[in-house]
């Protein structure tokens, strides 16, 4: 079984994505977390949401 993601970290990333952010901003906001945990949470976010992108490559959650 692949490892589960951290629900708190997923929620934190979802909160961050209320406005357009670069992936770098996601990493910076969660820099106190292990890199692998951030990627697992990111994976979870991508599976459960269709993320919008702008021409600069920023992500956000469409309402």
């Amino acid at each position: 079984m692949s490892a589960a993601s951290d629900a708190g970290l997923v929620a934190k990333i979802e909160g961050l994505l209320r406005q357009p952010v670069y992936f770098r901003d996601v990493l910076a906001a969660a820099r106190d977390q292990p890199y692998r945990a951030i990627l697992r949470a990111w994976s979870d976010v991508r599976i459960h949401h269709a993320l919008a992108r702008d021409e600069f490559g920023r992500y956000w959650l469409e309402k």
């Binding site: 079984m1 692949s2 490892a3 670069y22 992936f23 770098r24 990493l27 292990p34 890199y35 692998r36 945990a37 990627l39 697992r40 990111w42 994976s43 991508r46 599976i47 993320l51 992108r53 702008d54 021409e55 600069f56 490559g57």
Partner: protein
């Protein structure tokens, strides 16, 4: 034996580079997202042995300079183009073996988790962590096996976005399966020897298996092994292999931006989706993170120099040396030294600028050491008259990646054109060579610096 390079694998190449002083080991713990910044500041390629949260080391910066590329190849710096050309002329077919170290560990089913690999986030504006050193292998019923280099962006624990935006053989293979609403099985090897990586980066004619060129570079057949979940063969000694399929979703999945080969941040693209069906790897694998742009560019440098020597030869020009320069991404800018006959400085410029990518050239006489930029500048300064010796050609085929062609002004499907230029820095016709006689230190043959400086 230290010099025995038969069936040399990636990690043996690393060990040789370390012995040459071109790779260093870093013991201090580092996070994956910091590796690219560290590699960019380091005087050698780096093996980051302690990656926080992982038991897999990251190696990067292997081909960042001409010297490191030559070290990886085990060739002299001056012979990159000639030896590449010789290998292309003498391809050797790979052999399929029954087992390979790349399958010492096999992960399938629910155990697949790409986050188990230290896929690094590399550049400030990238769309996510990237596998930058992936060599993708695929089959086509008519065209046969193909290998090529494609970047892949981490999306989920089982999925990667893959850049198939520009024309390539893999794009053609994928288009064929997409048209039938079928998936394309592929395998991606991460951490293959420079011979395989450079052969995969080479734009070989369709139908020519790049791994035959890898055999030519090796001077022996490359050993390949069949994948566990897809009908594709991969180098048996690869560090890590990702097996799976490109889903028939077309160019619909957001991918990028990524710091691209020309040294500029690329655009957001829409590309196919790569779903993983198995991760296989060696015991204690090494994760190779190719560092943009120079490491990517140097993979093409020898092929560029080989192409330049070929077109100059076709033009009947005697070539002494050709150098693809880093500033020109090892393809766009070229310096050539020739044994000139009257008019051949300009002929050489015309020949070199006919190559699709080459945009600027400097042609010198064969007394100039073109690996020394000061000598090239000296030749340009004293052998060139700007109103006579600079050739400008307009309306030639350009590339979208070059902002100076203003690609955003093009209509969809429209191709850019560009101007190109060459500097004839050969001794002008009518000026006798003795006018350029160099100063020579008195009794220079009698003096050895080490006798005085040691």
């Amino acid at each position: 034996m230290a010099d025995d390079r038969r069936n040399e694998d990636f990690r043996s190449m690393l060990a040789r580079m370390e012995r040459d002083g071109h790779m260093r080991r870093i013991k201090k713990t580092i996070r994956p997202e910091h590796v690219t910044a560290l590699c960019g500041q380091a005087p050698a390629a780096l093996m980051c042995e302690a990656v926080e949260g992982y038991d897999i080391p990251i190696v990067g910066g292997l081909y960042w300079t001409r010297a490191r590329m030559a070290s990886a190849l085990g060739w002299r710096e001056s012979e990159l183009g000639a030896r590449f050309a010789a290998a292309v002329a003498r391809p050797i077919a790979p052999e399929t073996v029954s087992t390979g170290v790349c399958q010492e560990i096999v992960v399938t089913g629910d155990d697949i988790d790409l986050t188990a690999l230290p896929i690094p986030f590399m550049h400030e504006k990238d769309g996510g962590p990237y596998i930058s050193a992936g060599v993708a292998f695929a089959n086509d019923p008519k065209l046969g096996p193909n290998a090529g280099c494609y970047r892949m962006m981490f999306r989920t624990q089982r999925e990667l976005g893959i850049d198939l935006f520009t024309a390539s053989d893999l794009r053609r293979y994928y288009q064929a399966t997409f048209d039938r609403n079928e998936s394309l099985p592929i395998a991606v090897a991460v951490g293959v020897h420079v011979f395989e990586h450079m052969a995969a980066a080479y734009k070989a004619p369709a139908g020519l298996n790049e791994m035959h060129i890898a055999g030519g570079l090796r001077g022996e057949p490359l050993q390949m092994v069949r994948c566990k979940t897809v009908d594709v063969v991969v180098p048996a000694h690869a560090e890590i292999v990702l097996e799976g399929e490109l889903l028939p979703t077309g160019w619909t999945v957001d991918e990028g931006p990524f710091g691209e080969f020309a040294g500029m941040q690329g655009d957001l693209k829409h590309n196919p989706l790569f779903r993983i069906s198995a991760i296989t790897h060696r015991r204690n694998p090494v994760f190779y993170a190719l560092q943009m742009p120079w490491e990517n560019d140097w993979l093409n440098g020898p092929a560029t120099e080989a192409a330049c020597a070929r077109v100059l030869g076709l033009a009947g020009i005697q070539v002494n040396a050709v150098r693809a320069t880093e500033g020109g991404c090892c393809g766009w800018s070229v310096v050539a030294a020739i044994k000139k006959r009257a008019g051949e400085g300009k002929n050489a410029i015309a020949a070199l600028l006919s190559l699709p990518v080459v945009k600027q050239v400097i042609v010198t006489d064969d007394d100039i050491n073109i690996y020394n930029s000061d000598e090239v500048e000296w030749a340009v300064t004293f052998r060139c008259q700007a109103d006579k010796d600079i050739v400008i050609l307009s309306g030639m085929k350009g590339k979208h990646v070059d902002p100076s062609v203003r690609p955003w002004d093009l209509k969809p499907g429209e191709l850019p054109t560009t101007s190109k230029f060459g500097i004839d820095a050969t001794i002008p016709e009518g000026i006798p060579a003795f006018r350029y006689e160099r100063i020579v230190p008195a009794f220079h043959a009698d003096i050895r610096a080490e006798d005085y400086l040691s």
